[in-house]
Point group: C2
Chain length 584, copies 2
């Protein structure tokens, strides 16, 4: 036994007890005749004291040499502190050390092991094992564990069975790019790592498993953006004999349970919003409804005046910024610059001050009088003291731009409160979306999503208008889950593959097993998947997913700590029947 107690549990009730502790030297203060050492482990910090009078000379001398992050074991008596620290649970006591063992020395760490560290991102990634010693990272990982446990216990209690699906599966051309795994035993053939266990969970429903879940790693070989990882974790769920309503209720239950258990927050029944409304009112399909600032479409009142920019726009749309009339001219100019940045891409921004006295002052007063602007205010819901910001252009683009502006302003105004939780179901997503690059329709969710009842026929005439039994769960402006009711008959599934441009041969080669399965008694079924990494971050009131992953990869998909990926030796390549084919 290296220790009798941890560094987080001793308090006044232990005074005079002999204890053994082990941990890391957080810091050491040497006053000459007395040395204090903060000893740290996962559970807390306990102060050690070495005293020229009461500590043996040998130990006192050794204590002088203790450096930061040394691993030590001490035996000593719990005594009352003279100057108590009310900020930590062990603050009333300290340990008068009678025995000291250095278990391992430590070089000076490349960054400080403190809540606020001096280490940069890359350095902390390279020495991730040191970064994990820091409270913010350590606590994030413990928090993640708690969330995962809460998910598992809740779903198990609700009758869901966690079933492990395989990691070595088959590559499919649909969706994102697969990571593949060459098979040595089947030369020239490859497994793929799952982008999700989608087809397997559907087969489990065909297999009568009824209620399935799994917390599972998934893989996508995409060009990485900031905070997107090649491997990520899903809470993957599926139910049989359900309609959309059943799924929404079941997983609203899970989410409500998490908010209660993890955050202590009680939430009412989740509101629901049609996809079309989300796009119209918030410019995106994952609106943050912790605050208002809904879009007001101004075409009817802003067009057909003399302002050419608006007249030629497909959409003129504005938001009322609460209290925004207090912005200085300079601040507004900065906002205009902000929307004109390439990342946003607006050509400009029209604004209208709503004065406290009920009058208006806009940047386009030349074209619009008070009556016009009053209509803008009415439509955007602007009150005296607000600022109306108006963008115009092609509908999809301008919605995206105004949505970004809305979020930016909310952040600046402190409206995105990390401890406030506003969940929302967005429903009735389109079945298909047009892909400019390949010049064809793609499944918006995935090819197994069922169209709304009676809309299958629309596929032939107006595919873009077909709505799906698909839904997203949105929390504070982030999509935390998405799912759909699936197709469960072979005919509809074949038709879908057909519309998505699969030849019958391709469909059979890729998904024949699923369509076969549908012929042997497939029940109606549907499900949802939550992104665990993001869910955990949001529940913690944070946005950076990487902090909640023990060993994340950088933006080039590299693990800079272990230095992977790395070249293989020739023998390995040969065994896999592969040769490199690098274009210089």
């Amino acid at each position: 036994m290296y220790r009798s107690h941890t560094c987080g549990e001793l308090n006044a009730s232990y005074i005079n007890k002999e204890v053994v502790l082990a941990g890391w030297v957080q810091k050491s203060r040497d006053k000459g005749f007395m040395i204090w050492v903060d000893l740290r482990d996962r559970y807390g910090i306990t102060q050690l004291i070495f005293d020229e009078e009461r500590t043996s000379k040998a130990i006192f001398q050794e204590a002088k040499l203790l450096g930061r992050e040394f691993v030590i074991q001490v035996t000593g008596k719990v005594i009352e502190r003279t100057s108590k620290n009310p900020n930590i649970p062990t603050g009333d006591i300290e340990i008068l050390v009678s025995k000291l063992t250095i278990l391992n020395k430590a070089q000076l760490p490349p960054f400080t092991i403190e809540d606020q560290t001096d280490g940069g991102e890359e350095l902390r990634m390279k020495f991730r094992y040191l970064d994990i010693r820091r409270n913010p990272v350590k606590n994030s990982l413990i928090f993640r564990h708690k969330v995962a446990q809460a998910v598992r216990n809740y779903l198990s209690k609700e009758g869901f069975i966690e079933v492990e699906t395989p990691y070595l599966i088959k590559s499919t051309p649909e969706g994102a790019r697969d990571f593949v795994v060459p098979s040595r035993m089947n030369a020239g053939q490859f497994y793929a790592l799952p982008q999700s266990p989608q087809t397997f969970k559907q087969l489990l429903m065909v297999g009568g498993m009824d209620k399935y879940f799994q917390i599972v790693k998934c893989f996508r070989d995409e060009d990485l953006r900031a905070d997107r990882q090649p491997e990520f974790t899903q809470i993957d769920c599926e139910m049989a004999f359900v309609e959309q309503e059943d799924i929404l209720n079941a997983f609203e239950g899970l989410t409500r349970h998490l908010l209660k258990e993890i955050n202590g927050v009680e939430v009412d029944k989740f509101p629901r919003m049609l996809y079309d409304d989300a796009m119209r009112l918030y410019g995106n399909d994952k609106p943050d409804i912790r605050f208002g600032m809904q879009f007001g479409e101004l075409n009817a009142v802003a067009q057909h005046k003399d302002f050419g920019v608006f007249n030629t726009a497909e959409l003129v749309v504005g938001i009322a910024v609460p209290g925004g009339n207090s912005f200085t001219r300079k601040e507004i100019d900065q906002l205009i610059d902000w929307v004109k940045r390439p990342q946003i891409g607006a050509l400009g921004m029209v604004y209208c001050r709503c004065n406290e006295d009920g009058t208006f002052k806009s940047s386009v007063d030349k074209f619009y009088d008070e009556t016009d602007l009053a209509k803008w205010a009415e439509i955007t819901g602007a009150k005296p003291g607000d600022l109306i910001c108006v963008l115009s252009g092609e509908t999809n683009k301008v919605r995206t731009q105004l949505s970004a502006l809305r979020m930016e302003l909310a952040t600046r105004l402190g409206l995105r409160k990390p401890n406030e939780f506003a969940p929302l179901w967005v429903i009735d997503f389109p079945l298909l979306e047009w892909d400019e690059e390949t010049n064809r329709y793609h499944a918006m969710h995935h090819p197994f999503t069922s169209p709304k009842p009676g809309q299958l026929e629309l596929l032939a005439t107006n595919p873009g208008a077909v709505k799906a039994n698909a839904y997203d769960l949105v929390l504070n402006g982030n999509e935390i889950g998405g799912g759909s009711i699936r197709i469960h008959d072979k005919k509809t599934q074949s038709l879908m593959f057909d519309y998505l441009g699969f030849t019958p041969e391709e469909a059979k080669a890729q998904f024949g097993f699923l369509m076969d399965a549908f012929q042997y008694g497939a029940p109606p079924h549907g499900g949802i998947a939550f992104g665990l990494d993001r869910l955990v971050a949001i529940l913690a009131g944070q946005e950076i997913i990487r902090d909640f992953i023990a060993f994340p990869k950088n933006n080039a998909g590299r693990d800079v700590m272990i230095d992977a990926p790395a070249p293989l030796d020739d023998k390995q390549l040969e065994e896999l029947s592969l040769k490199l084919n690098i274009k210089s």
Copy 2:
């Protein structure tokens, strides 16, 4: 809502209630004027009744057409059965159907969906989704879920944190062959899939996580033997500031908890056996101690007589088969044939009948008299009525052979009772084992295992004699877990790599990150990993692991259901900077 109840919950207390059920047609009996249908879902079977008098004509006609595995929804009234079935919870009632909807038709399944099916192994693998409908498979998967949940809840309560470690890591030459994953973004470089999260869990200890666990998929590209899967699941655990004793206690606690919670079995403190004793007394390192039949070494009493076979043997060793004197001559001859099969490889077997009257009759009476044989009986612990079986030859080989014979005889004699649980710690494993193929020592556990205190020096003079702080947990003759106390200082770890034949450059390239980590304050630490697939099978009193895996691969590493692995298209290969290099 597709159903108001499941097919497993209705009983007499529901009589006269109107219910809606959905499920699969298990079978249908048509008596002309009356049709009974067994409706099945995950939760059970409920009998439906369609009655010429009480059921509408249209529904009655439709019911006649219901085939096996059709998916249907029915509305009806719960009524009391005339002939009750006391064997199922729903046996007192049936449903008089008033509404019938066929949700999906089904083709005749390729094998019967019954507990005893007529489907062969490959066929059931190809249609695994149908196999999962069968109780034995379905219940195995539910059982596995329960075990995994029990593990997670126990370890969480004990303060362990489940941390997800990465799947895309770096290939290492040590140990089994890695599956690799080409990196598209880093042309010519590869990730590897983890054979275990070994180094990551050690880094978590360096990172102060203190107590870690993870239920995690691991991957080994080995030539497959029966019942070995390329991907398998581990309960992976690690603790800091521990000695071997702490680990044994902690995971004895887990195992005892599982036996109690899952099997309702209370087990005493687990016995411990030295590796050397296990080899000497049972001929292998995972003895089944549910029964005796310990080895008795007979060299001292059987050599130096005139029996040349024994005189030239390195080891002469026997076991007493309880009641074995009742074997007929023919049965004994069959046993001799059994040990001479190529899989076992013994050259022959000497036996000695222990008669009820205290006399002996051996197959080598020419060389050994009653006094000699009485000594055999004493050493092997044979009682009157037993049979002593003796093998001889090269120590390692003959131990393996006799161990196989012991297990075979125990199986035949019914001594391996599936509901009896006999856990055992085997400790003090050798640090190294000699590998004939590569003509060098390999780490028996892995290169991070620490030698016993004070034995490091032996490495230079007698490496094979060095014992490790390594232990296996054995249950009923199966290794269910294994682990070790790790090296936690750079110097010892370098030395180990050195002895294992790594050049300093190789060691640095492969494991530099770990040795670096040891310089920044690594605590003493150790751990264990359990094979979940096997553990679950054994707790269920079964031996075939595959039944406890939802979608297993066959012996060629193929998923015959989805037909993976499969060729990639040229574009994918090119993106990965690879070319096939298939030797014909």
